[in-house]
């Protein structure tokens, strides 16, 4: 990138692409060409910057000016003002929500200030479709160092010492996993990358594969060298077409450069990677299920042991790690185990990528050191709750995790603290909820997911979760009883204790955590038959406020079941026995005369 005086980085993550970042990049190039600047200023389409809420995002280097919500028609202004005259385009700068001042450097924005990017280090800085750019930012340097300077044992020692734990949810020591795979004797071993990301609310693996696919390829090759495997497989979900394309391109480029294939860098080490596609089954994120799926079987998990490290794909020792875990490997090799273990908490080292979504101002990917508090993530980086509403809960860990509340906001986030609070790290999805969200409905939502995604092999998960879902459904419909809460709790414990795999063992967590932290809300549903958040439609009562009703008949005309009666210019009324609580009258009324309670 160095021969150009300036670089304009345009985010080409799919989020920004959907907001016309392609057109923007083209407009910038056209404008530069017209001004005769094509030789001096380069437009680079990069992977995701992570600041998706404000996309399309543009970063001008070397002065590191960060523009947000840039439209193709802004290209003229950016070139004529910033590039030619050196004046920053004020109206495209980010406004700090706290101080209401314009912020220009990307590092000064709250969203970026608290972050430490290790796994996401290249996302947003390189063009993921050009291996040269990855190499310019130390891509494949760790592989080269390992192949020329270190023995497999030394590398495994570094990974073990770094304290890196699996980022896909399990949190098992990565170094130990590598060591087990390396010590089992076999004529063939495999390296697998689990890219079957499926947790609701998680999209970091997609972003890494779209923004920096080479880091995953490099780390898999390093793992192959350490464990004695010459074949790598990436199991990627079919729902991620752009990630698949980028990964294919990256693998081909790595082959052309001799970084995959036979005798890599003259070391005598052979390694190549193939892609395998998922077909819409969440449970395949579980490693034994994933392996069965690659073998051409139903993606059902099996009991561990034997662990895949001993007996995996086609019965051979197989090292399975997730995308984000792999993305941490090259920096650890280059900067050392001590550097990595100096970041984070006592038992959780390094950083974790969280996917912020839901009712928070800045949605997107956030990478912070382990030990950062939820408050820092949600309120400082995330910019607080949308529309000035009140924070109610944050769901972490997807369907295996739980809902945390206000009182958990200051707990340092790491694997152990989250489990102690009744949730888990999972893959790092964080869905923020505000006062308008009903926690019974939230629990029901996750159970709906589990019921659909349960593979059906073991009965506690197949039948138990279905029953949990039914009970929750009845509660939200106003048919719940107080002792339903005990039934929920007991059944949840049974499912946790007796399910075969991680999916079933953790599926009741959303129920248990909401029961514990939002007991009053459950009680309101089963005793008073009221939904405090106003989400459960069947518990709503629609009435007409005589003081505000002008008798315009709009509500009566829109009511699909004819439950509203009243003459023109007279106060209307709703027949509760007919009302189906669809809310159409509320939406239609212009006089705030429809009341909901």
């Amino acid at each position: 990138m160095s021969k150009y005086k300036m670089n304009i980085l345009v985010c080409g993550g799919t989020g920004c692409k959907s907001s016309a970042s392609d057109l923007l990049a083209a407009a910038l190039r056209t404008e530069l060409a017209e001004r005769g600047l094509s030789g001096e200023v380069q437009v680079v389409v990069t992977g995701c910057f992570g600041f998706c809420e404000q996309g399309p995002v543009v970063n001008v280097l070397p002065d590191n000016t960060f523009y947000i919500k840039v439209k193709p028609e802004d290209a003229v202004t950016i070139v004529s003002e910033h590039i030619i005259k050196g004046r920053k385009v004020q109206n495209l700068l980010y406004t700090d929500p706290a101080t209401q001042t314009k912020v220009d450097g990307s590092g000064a924005i709250d969203f970026n200030k608290k972050q430490l990017r290790i796994a996401l280090r290249n996302c947003g800085f390189i063009d993921p479709e050009k291996i040269e750019e990855a190499i310019a930012r130390d891509g494949y340097a760790a592989l080269a160092r390992v192949l020329t300077e270190s023995s497999p044992e030394e590398v495994i020692g570094i990974i073990k010492k770094s304290g890196l734990r699996g980022r896909g949810g399990g949190g098992f020591s990565t170094g130990l996993k590598w060591e087990i795979t390396s010590t089992v004797e076999a004529d063939q071993k495999y390296v697998v990358c689990n890219a079957d990301e499926g947790d609701p609310g998680a999209f970091m693996d997609r972003s890494i594969l779209e923004g920096d696919p080479h880091t995953v390829i490099e780390a898999m090759a390093i793992n192959g060298y350490c464990t004695g495997a010459d074949k790598g497989l990436v199991y990627i979900r079919a729902e991620y077409p752009l990630a698949i394309e980028r990964l294919k391109t990256a693998i081909n480029q790595a082959r052309e450069y001799g970084l995959l294939g036979k005798d890599i860098l003259g070391s005598g080490f052979n390694f190549d990677i193939e892609l395998r596609y998922g077909a819409g089954a969440f449970v395949c994120g579980e490693e034994t299920a994933l392996i069965h799926s690659m073998e051409g079987n139903r993606g059902e998990p099996t009991f561990k042991p034997p662990f895949p490290s001993e007996e995996g794909y086609l019965g051979k020792p197989t090292n399975v790690n997730n995308v984000e875990t792999y993305a941490n490997i090259p920096p650890i090799i280059l900067k050392g185990a001590d550097w990595f273990s100096s970041i984070g908490t006592e038992k959780s080292k390094g950083t974790k990528v969280f996917a912020l979504a839901g009712k928070v101002n800045n949605v997107g990917l956030v990478e912070v050191p382990m030990g950062t508090t939820l408050r820092e993530v949600i309120f400082e980086i995330g910019g607080g709750i949308k529309d000035g509403k009140k924070f109610k809960s944050v769901q972490t860990g997807g369907p295996s995790g739980g809902c945390l509340t206000e009182k958990h906001l200051d707990i340092p986030i790491d694997y152990d603290n989250l489990i102690a609070s009744g949730s888990m790290m999972g893959s790092g999805g964080m869905i923020v909820m505000d006062e308008d969200d009903c926690m019974v409905s939230v629990a029901k939502y996750y159970l709906d997911f589990t019921v659909e995604e349960s593979c059906g092999k073991c009965s506690p998960c197949r039948i138990g979760n279905k029953r949990l879902h039914e009970i929750l459904d009845e509660i939200t419909k106003g048919n719940g009883k107080p002792d339903d809460l005990d039934r929920l709790r007991n059944l949840s414990e049974v499912i946790k204790d007796t399910s075969l795999c991680g999916l079933g063992q953790s599926s009741p967590n959303p129920v248990l955590s909401t029961l514990e932290h939002f007991h009053d809300e459950y009680m309101a549903h089963v005793v008073d038959f009221k939904c405090p958040a106003g989400q459960c439609r069947d518990l709503m009562i629609y009435t007409i406020d005589a003081a505000n009703c002008v008798g315009c008949t709009a509500c009566a005309r829109v009511c699909p079941v004819g439950a509203i009666a009243g003459e023109r210019k007279e106060v209307h009324s709703i027949d509760q026995t007919i009302c189906i609580k669809c809310g159409a009258c509320l939406e239609k009324c212009k006089f705030n005369a429809v009341l909901v309670s």
Partner: protein
């Protein structure tokens, strides 16, 4: 109509005839034809020397390997909690009204099938839908209708 036998023959050349070739072959057929019928699964079973029941057992496990007829364009609207919070119900309603079908149904002209999907990984840009291989994030009812209308013309 796609020549399924030809697809199977081509796929076995690339992936071999072992059991592990089953998923890629099933996926190759679905890519061309959007679903697998009984005859397709029998042909695949023959090619790989498996029982047809085993092929069906595997195919029917996966949401994306449909064993009932699907339209030329399969629309999958993400129904996960973050997309729900972002208003996916309105999107589904708009599509249902436009295509005159409900979730799980296919239009009479066999052009569109409407389905829901669990998390598509677009939680920051919801609501989102997938039409065959293409992702459409940040939907509004109007945007969804425009996109599908465009497909209709194809």
């Amino acid at each position: 109509m796609a020549d399924v036998q030809q697809i199977i023959n081509d796929a076995t050349k690339v992936y071999g005839k072992e059991r592990k070739a089953l998923m890629p072959i099933l996926q190759a057929v679905v890519k061309e034809k959007n679903y697998l019928d009984d005859q397709d699964m029998i042909s695949i079973a023959k090619a790989l020397d498996l029982s047809a029941a085993e092929v069906f057992g595997t195919a029917s496990f996966y949401t994306f390997l449909d064993t009932v007829p699907r339209g030329k364009f399969v629309i999958r609207v993400c129904k996960t909690i973050s997309c729900h919070m972002a208003g996916k119900d309105a999107i589904i309603q708009a599509i249902e009204q436009l295509l005159k079908i409900k979730i799980g149904e296919t239009t009479v002209d066999k052009q569109f099938t409407l389905l829901t999907a669990n998390c598509l990984g677009w939680c920051h840009k919801g609501p989102v839908m997938l039409i065959n291989d293409e992702v459409f994030p940040e939907l509004t009812s109007q945007k969804a209708v425009e996109i599908i209308t465009k497909y209709r013309g194809e």
